[in-house]
């Protein structure tokens, strides 16, 4: 075959366009993660407080985001937000909002799990030196919980990054959407290009996600080793 199709990747502006799409993808993931993790931390702490109503509401929030698939969440917000709330956000921002709320829900469960697994003695020792509730969280519980939850948080990050692949569905010009456009423009002339374009996107996701999950696995193993001696 004279033309393997890989040339399409580097033809004209194609490569730059793909990188541009990748930047959009990363920007959305980044904003969603920062906001989602911060909100999740707060919600996780709130879920360890005694207030039953608050705990129930936050639990329902979590379960809703757990049960509804992310694809459906995207459409819910994309279609319904402008109609009912009259809020007309661009698709990028809808995506950030959905991913941030979803991340926050998952994060709140991770944080809560870590907080309640800090041994009770630690809490009592803190009380015994006169710390108030806020100081107890600030100096004892949250720092200890954070080290417990880091691997789970990194895994959540990799999930969020993978989920950005769904942006295409609400017509955000992410890396996949750009790739699809390029494929469509070239499929007649160079049918093999589809292999290279999607291959490139495949590799891009792997390159971003693999180091993160490798890091999470390693930290988890180290922690287990420390617990076991």
């Amino acid at each position: 075959m004279a033309h393997s199709g890989i040339e399409v990747l580097f033809e004209g502006q194609n490569f730059a366009r793909l990188i541009g799409g990748l930047e959009t993808t990363i920007a959305i993931a980044f904003v969603a993660l920062i906001c989602g993790l911060a909100l999740g931390l707060i919600l996780g702490v709130l879920r360890t407080l005694k207030n039953r109503v608050l705990r129930l509401v936050l639990r329902l929030y979590l379960e809703f985001f757990r049960i509804v698939p992310t694809v459906v969440l995207l459409f819910l917000f994309y279609y319904i937000l402008p109609k009912t709330a009259g809020v007309n956000l661009p698709a990028n921002e809808v995506a950030m909002l959905v991913f941030a709320l979803w991340t926050a829900a998952e994060m709140s469960d991770i944080v809560r799990g870590a907080l309640i697994s800090v041994p009770k003695h630690q809490l009592e020792s803190g009380l015994a030196i006169g710390l108030n509730r806020w100081q107890l969280y600030r100096y004892i519980l949250i720092p200890q919980a954070v080290s417990l939850e880091i691997p789970a948080t990194i895994n959540l990050m990799t999930r969020v990054i993978k989920t950005t692949s769904l942006l295409l569905l609400i017509s955000v010009a992410d890396v996949i959407n750009v790739g699809q456009t390029i494929v469509e423009a070239n499929s007649k002339q160079y049918p093999n290009s589809v292999f290279w374009i999607y291959g490139f996107i495949f590799v891009m996701y792997f390159v971003i996600d693999y180091p993160l999950s490798w890091w999470a696995t390693r930290m988890n193993r180290r922690r287990l080793e420390r617990v076991n001696d």
């Binding site: 009380l127 015994a128 030196i129 006169g130 710390l131 100096y139 004892i140 200890q144 080290s147």
Partner: protein
Amino acid sequence: MTKQIYSVSNLEKYYQKQHVLHDITFSIDEGEVVVLLGPSGSGKSTLIRTLNGLEPYQSGVLKFKGQEIQPDEKGWRKLRQQIGMVFQSYDLFPNLTVMENILLGPTKVQKQPRDIAQAEAKRLLEVVGLSEYANVYPRQLSGGQKQRIAIIRALALKPELMLFDEVTASLDPEMVRGVLNIISRLAKQDKMTMIVVTHEMNFAKRIADRVLFLENGELLETTAGTQFFENPQTDRAKEFLESMDF
């Protein structure tokens, strides 16, 4: 005249239906060392934890230096700065260095200036012979070292009363002595007022000004230290002493 530090009258406590503390009344004066003895499950640990607000109780009056204690979170928090407590499981905070563990109470709770608190912490570390460990994390210490740090973490708040709850129970035998010596020195030299729950009978004999003997949540006798070990007043205490090795 000696000053009364802590008094307990008619304290009652239940876990669901189980009656764990039954009409407990006693008091402790300044500089006095009171040892709580009794078989396991007698309520010693529950009693000492109640004195620091870690266990709720159903009725009775607790007074610190003559003032009745309000059993709410705010009341206890203020009091806990004046009552130091050390637990069986040492419970240093693993996320903080030794020095940070000691400074947490003085700087964050009592808002002491950091340099003053730090100077005091250094002095205390020297007293227990652990100066060179100021900047390590608890996991690098042995059990005995951790427990010594836990003691000075409590002392750093300059408490007027110290509570020791089975502080040597989870230590290896060779580490017990060092920890007990520190507590003895605190009692004899520094005249610290303290309430001690322990299974170490020789140690109890050495430091107790007074012994409270508990069984099944009841306070069976309150006897001067030397007298208790030579001539206990109740048969139950006699049997208890006979069953323990010295």
